[in-house]
Every structure is written in structure tokens, then in C-alpha cells.
Amino acid sequence: MLLYKAWIETRVRFVAGLIAAAIICTFYMEQHAWLVRWWAAEMQNPHGDHGKEMLLGIHEYGWYLWHYLYDNYLQQVWSLFAILFAFGGLIRERSDGTVLFSLGLPVSRRRWLFTRLAVALLESIALSLFAVFVVVIGSAVIHQTFSLSQVLLHTALMVAAGVFVIAFGNLCYTLFPGNYLSLLLTLVLLGAPYLWLQTYMQHMRDLGRTPWFRYLDFSHTMAGPWHLSWSSTPWVSLLVAWTLTAALIAATVAHGDRLDY
């Protein structure tokens, strides 16, 4: 019943997430033909841009999907909604005035928290699988083929590394109650390093350097390499993400246990 309650509380956000994911996937599949034509024109133009990625984009639809969705926009949309799914719980109930009813039930504070996190995780997984479904349908419509197993592996990697985002969002909500304030702070605290690291690490990779904090480049970890296999999976970065996730959840539990309602 706790799962059911958490689901009712977040289902509007979940549906909004599905719509956002559908829009982002559909938009980039719809743009594929136009972008390929544009890249082809650029490649034929002696004064145009001749980036290596353009060739991949023209010839590899799988790379195109990975680059625009899993390495960029779907990942960002997914992260945003994963944060939103994680918002709520007893802290939100305090402002709604229902927390005393909830805490009067024989349910520990930790169970409330983990139920919330479990529902956020399940919704995040469902959102990522829904994106796969949209990609499958959309690709069939635009007559493109791709490796479904690769897309599923990228989905799994995005969720596996993205659990950090869920834990971070929930901690922010516990520390700074209020949907808007929490969202703003989460986006600032998570988004600023995310964008900076993404840009900086791309620059470093271009230079062939690998600084130690590459393991904190969660965007890169969530995307993984284009061809994902057991050996190319960023295991160390995943381990770092999981360790930090565990630390964030432990901090949320410790803080939640001490709170007075």
C-alpha cells in the first residue's frame, strides 16, 4: 500500500515525464533525415565542416541515437524527471499537514524513505523503457534500423549510473523542503558541476588526458561509449556513482531520523 500511495502522489509527474521523453525522442528521430542531408552537404562542401562525427552520423543510425539521446537530451530529460520523481515523502507531508497521520501508522521513517526511493527508481526505469519503445516505433516509421540490444544496454547504463541523481534529489528535498526551492538547488548543485565536467572532460579527452576526477563525470558514465559491451562498460565510474549514492542515502536516512515533525 505504501508503494501505491507513492505512485498516486507521483503519477502526474510520471505522465509528464513520458510526454517529455516521447517529445525528445520523436523530435530527434524526425530530425534524422534532415541532419543527415545537412551533414552530407557539409562533407561535400570543401569549405564546410568535416568532423569525424558527421561521418558516423551519416552512416550509423545507432550512433546518431546514442549521441542525441543517451549522450545528451534524453539523458538530461531523464535526469530531470528522476529528480522530480524523488521529491516528496514525509517532508512534503509536513507542509501538507498529513505527516502526523502517516507517522501514526506502524511504518518506520526509513521504510517511508525507501518506498519513495523505490517508486522513484521504478518510475525512472519505466521512463527509460518507454523511451526505448518510442525509439523502436519511431525508427520503424522513418525506416531506420539499429541494434536494440545496444539501446537496451545504454538504457541500463543510464539508469544504473543515474540512481545517483535520484538519491541527490531526495537528499536536497529533505534538506531544503519545497518543490521549487529543492528543484532549483538540485539543478544548481548537480547541474553546474555536471555541465562543467562534461565540457571540461570532453576537452581533456580531445587532448588525450585522463584526470582522476573523470570518474565523477556522471554524464559520461550514464552515456558510456557508443559500442557498449562488458569490457567497455565504465565499471570504475559506476562504482563511484554507487558509492556516492549509498553515501547520499545514508545522509538522508541520518537526517530524516533526527527530524522532528
Binding site: K5, G97, L100, F101
Partner: protein, 295 residues
């Protein structure tokens, strides 16, 4: 009788404000115990500490022998305790039947007969969303969710607030009937008439401290208002006797509340050459006001 609720030197501070200051109380099994106090006296803070919603600053407390400051034991407490909070807001996105289904899933001894009876008695529409219920209907629903849990202890914080007189009477009857079946009831209220109607024990709290701990029988049979008119002036210290609660002297007239030893006090007053001594019954409301004003 065994104590169901016990606290020892229980304290709760919010910053510099002392909400509860060394509270020692005991509620016996099977009793209907009223917990009286002004707004901000510390009633809700005490109840929240008992149920693990806030953490005591110091002191100890237990319900059914389980410590209130241990999360694991608090969970055991909440399996045996039905609590209805002062703020009776419920999940407004659920319907009446949904929240009943949700709540009963946590209580294996849920009283289905009482649920059906109260649904009908309170005229609660099962399919209506809680957000569409009036305040009074929400209060009735919150009470149903508390009463039907089949728990050994019922803790009610201002249970009748926002109810009409007919519903109040219904609620008080249910409280009495649950107590008759062995449920211990601990309830806070501002409605002293209700307390006199159903309680068999009274705890009065003021500024975080217990100022009265007496059975209703003692309150009704032992407590007396005594007024004496003296021929010569008397001083307060002349009337400091066991059982005398507070003395007020205006000229040659002394009035005070006696909690026991009334006969001995009257005899003593007569020995001080009182011209007339009136012994009057005193209501719980007068005791309450007397206790609160005394501080």
C-alpha cells in the same frame, strides 16, 4: 492496574523555548484519561514524543513498556496505538474507501463491524475524494480511521474539534464503548464538559509541567471550594495546610481550593475564628482556571 503510558522527567525544548519541562505522568490500563491544558501548554508535544514524531530533549517515556525514544520500539508502539492528530488532514487525493483500505492494511485487528457502523453513522460517502469533504466530515473520517484500528490504546488529540453537537455526542459514546471493551483512551481536549462526561482520570498540564493528576472521582468528591470570613485578619501562612491548593485573601475573606482533608481544613479554619465557612463543590473548569491562573 498496570501503567500503559509512563514518562519520567520528559523534556522537550525548541531552541530556547521549553515546551515540556520534566513531565512525570502515568496512564493506567483501561482508563479514559483526559489530558488538559491551554494552547501551547505542551499537550501536543507530549503526544508527539510518545509516538516518536519528535525526539525528547531529555527524560524517558514508555508505552506498553516500549521506550518512546527508540525507533524500533516506537514502531511496536504504533502497532498497538491508534492515534488521531489534532490536525485531521488526510491524503486529499484519496477517496474515503481508498484511505480506509490503505489504513486497514497496517492493522491486522481492524474492526470491520465498527468501520461499517461508523461509515453509516457518520454518513461518509465511500467514493468521495477527501478533498471534497467538509472539515467536519474529514474529522469524522479521521476518527473512524482511529477507532476501527482495534488497538489497545487510543490517543486522541482534540478529537471533537470542528464537530457539531450530535457528532460530538456520537464520538463520546464510541469512546466510552471502546473503553468498556478494554481499550485505554488518552485524549487531549479543551472541552471540559466532554472531559467530565467521559474521563475517569484527569491530567492537567501548564507550561510544560503537570499541575494536576487526579481521578475524576477525587475531583468530584474531594475537591472543594472553601470560603471563610474571619473576624480578625488572617495571613496566607495560617492557611497553608495539607490539601490546600491556593489561597486568595481579600480583607477578612479567604477563599481557597482544597484537594483533600476538607474536614480537617474546615476544623482548622474554624479554630482561626472564622465567622462563617462555606464549603462548595467545584467544577473541573474552575479547577482548571484556578491551576492556570495560579501560575
Amino acid at each position: 492496574m498496570a501503567a500503559v503510558i509512563e514518562t519520567t522527567e520528559l523534556k522537550k525544548n525548541y531552541g530556547n523555548h521549553e515546551a515540556v519541562r520534566g513531565l512525570n505522568l502515568s496512564v493506567q490500563a483501561g482508563s479514559v484519561c483526559a489530558f488538559l491544558g491551554q494552547n501551547g501548554a505542551g499537550k501536543s508535544s507530549t503526544i508527539k514524543m510518545l509516538l516518536g514524531m519528535i525526539h525528547p530533549t531529555s527524560g524517558q517515556g514508555s508505552i506498553f513498556g516500549h521506550r518512546i525514544d527508540k525507533e524500533r520500539e516506537s514502531l511496536l508502539i504504533r502497532q498497538k496505538v491508534a492515534f488521531v492528530a489534532e490536525d485531521k488532514r488526510l491524503y486529499d487525493y484519496m477517496s474515503v474507501s481508498q484511505i480506509i483500505r490503505f489504513t486497514k492494511s497496517f492493522f491486522p485487528r481492524w474492526n470491520h463491524t465498527l468501520e461499517t457502523y461508523l461509515l453509516e453513522r457518520f454518513e461518509l460517502p465511500p467514493e468521495r475524494k477527501i478533498r471534497q469533504l467538509s472539515k467536519g466530515m474529514r474529522t469524522k473520517l479521521a476518527l473512524l480511521l482511529g477507532f476501527a484500528r482495534g488497538c489497545e490504546l487510543l490517543i486522541l488529540d482534540e478529537p471533537t474539534e470542528g464537530l457539531d453537537p450530535v457528532a460530538i455526542e456520537d464520538v463520546l459514546q464510541i469512546v466510552v464503548s471502546l473503553a468498556a471493551q478494554g481499550t485505554t483512551v488518552f485524549f487531549s481536549s479543551h472541552q471540559i464538559a466532554e472531559v467530565e462526561q467521559v474521563a475517569d482520570h484527569v491530567l492537567m498540564i501548564d507550561r510544560g509541567q503537570l499541575v494536576l493528576n487526579a481521578s475524576m472521582y477525587d475531583v468530584q468528591e474531594e475537591y472543594r471550594q472553601i470560603q471563610a470570613v474571619f473576624t480578625d485578619p488572617v495571613e496566607e501562612r495560617d492557611l497553608r495546610l495539607p490539601g490546600v491548593e491556593r489561597v486568595k485573601i481579600e480583607g477578612r475573606i479567604a477563599s481557597f481550593v482544597a484537594s483533600r482533608n476538607v474536614d480537617a481544613i474546615v476544623e482548622h479554619v474554624r479554630m482561626l475564628h472564622a465567622g462563617s465557612v462555606d464549603v462548595l463543590p467545584i467544577s473541573l473548569k474552575e479547577i482548571f482556571l484556578d491551576k492556570v491562573k495560579a501560575r
